[in-house]
Symmetry: C2
Subunit: 348 residues, 2 copies
């Protein structure tokens, strides 16, 4: 029996998770919600998937959009709701999920306390079993945790200091900035990202963050003190072995910035140029004894898609961690090596 | 017998035309050229398509990239070369095309005189027959000509004044600007775009251009005096009927800028978010007697792809104009109506 899934909020994350759900053989997409008519609502309507709040039915009728039902009706038809509403709005829906006894997966825009359990596949997949509420951590936290849980498993992590250089807005957003400034955000240190990491991996971590005028990806400049001395080759081997981490060699490829990483994803034929993998600039990896430096890039729009799919399997006990990673990554076409990247580009 | 095609320059235009050629049943992609090793060269090599200048063989050997041959060898194997080298470089290759008696299609970065014939499908398809050299006009000129040849056929065009608001760089380019200025470019009026339009359609046109800090698309603010009085509905009907022009309604869709147009292309699943269609903001169409105003957007990376494919058919007499448009547009998945856009988005 496939798990019946609803997506609350058919925006940047919601549309990606909805499409990923359709690709899973153990899940079924029942509906998506929209609060305002727009072209995505038109597409959802055309597919018979559109559910809207009861008090918005009139707006959609005026826009000539057929709806499949109200969100209350939708939540009663499904086993789990992926809450992809804007940050802070998920909390408002929690009473409704409780009312209908439906499970829910919140996103990183909600506080840890809303779900009481924060999730990242490589770190704590098994602990999600039978939870009613799970929160998939944010894009930046997901990127940090994929790296840190991999390093922690292999070598032990003693201390982490990282600077998050955040994109100012997503590509489609025209009302957000900055467009000509570098913004310490927050200016009071540390930033919440390190604190958020600790909701999943209890480790000595402090992060700082600035926002810059770009839309494509975030970049993390990471400094880690490991529990044992390592060689650069050992770090590279560990990252190469880990799923969802892609080492990108700059010199031979010419891929030396976030713009080129996204061009690579475009050339790979990834829908919406999504890069689900955490991209580590291979040449940036520098090791001295127990100390490691590296720079990594996070595609903020898509990196949490695989984790949302896994979270469903984890909550319902549908598969082991390894099995879920395999199914999710195969269905979404994730790669583990740069050679696979080249093969995808060559396969037009 | 399929026409054998080489792509000289496997960059922004070259990779798109190469992939389009592979989709045609009357053409065969024989090889592509690169002058420097990078990840696209790696992909071309993996597919056995990589040809390089003889004096660069050593560079590719050092980069451990297998090549299929030299560019001289490639040009002797094919019927036509699509020259997608950087602007001004195509001219340097012309003697080589002449030496091997191979036909060539230049891009809009070359002067009209290099080919002696400038091409735009909706305007002068039939005149390309049996030409050795053809130049597909630039992205901006292609956008203007799709509009103007459509209007000219329906109503006659008396005079055109247009301002071209140009993107500063393509998404992958990190060494070009501006990044915080609006640049009159050129500051001496008029700009070359109108002059370029006249290499295809002899009409009273003057254009001006500014460059702005964005990467996604160009926007044209167009003012046309028609030869007869028309209604707004007649203009909309003419544009709706025309191939490769897509009217985008803003109010019902929320698509109100170039960022949202590109998000729409991403949601449609277009590879590299390519938007081959000239996108006209429907609400911008304003008519008063013989005078028409509108705003349209041009995806600079991809809009000339269909015209390059057509140019091959036109030169070799493979198909009528209508038949070529049909084959090209079907193979690339072009749409004519916004309803088709919604269907594509709904078909995940």
């Amino acid at each position: 029996m496939a798990v019946k899934v609803a997506i609350n909020g058919f925006g940047t994350i919601g549309k990606r998770v909805a499409e990923a759900i359709v690709k899973q053989d153990d899940m079924e997409l029942i509906g998506v919600t929209k609060t305002r008519p727009d072209y995505l609502a038109m597409a959802a309507s055309k597919r018979g998937l559109l559910y809207v709040p009861e008090n918005k039915l009139e707006d959609f009728k005026k826009a000539d959009l057929e709806v499949a039902g109200t969100i209350d009706e939708l939540f009663q038809k499904v086993d789990v709701v992926v809450d992809a509403t804007p940050g802070g709005v998920g909390k408002e829906y929690k009473p409704l999920y409780e009312k209908y006894g439906v499970r829910a997966i919140f996103q990183g825009g909600e506080k840890h306390e809303v779900a009481g359990f924060s999730f990242s596949t490589l770190c704590n997949y098994d602990d999600a079993k039978d939870k009613q509420f799970v929160r998939v951590v944010s894009c930046n936290t997901t990127g940090l945790l994929r790296l840190l849980c991999t390093l922690n498993k292999e070598f032990g992590v003693e201390r982490v200091r990282a600077t998050i250089v955040r994109r100012g807005a997503d590509p489609h957003e025209t009302k957000k900035g900055p467009i000509d400034a570098i913004v310490p955000n927050p200016v009071t240190l540390p930033s919440h990202h390190g604190i958020d990491v600790r909701t999943v991996l209890p480790v000595d971590i402090a992060t700082t963050a600035v926002v810059v005028p770009t839309t494509l990806m975030h970049v993390h400049v990471v400094n880690v003190i490991l529990k044992e001395e390592v060689s650069r080759d050992q770090v590279i081997e560990a990252l190469n072995k880990a799923p969802r981490i892609l080492l990108v060699p700059t010199k031979i490829s010419g891929i030396k910035d976030t713009a080129k990483l996204i061009e690579m994803a475009r050339d790979m034929g990834r829908k919406r140029h999504d890069l689900y993998e955490l991209a580590v600039f291979e040449e940036s990896i520098s090791v001295n004894g127990k100390e490691l430096f590296l720079m990594q890039a996070v595609h903020q729009e898509s990196i949490v898609t695989p984790e949302n799919v896994d979270a469903i399997r984890a909550m319902f006990g549908l598969a082991t961690k390894e099995e879920s990673i395999r199914k999710t990554d195969e269905s979404l076409g994730l790669v583990r090596t740069f050679d696979e990247v080249i093969s995808k580009i060559a396969s037009f």
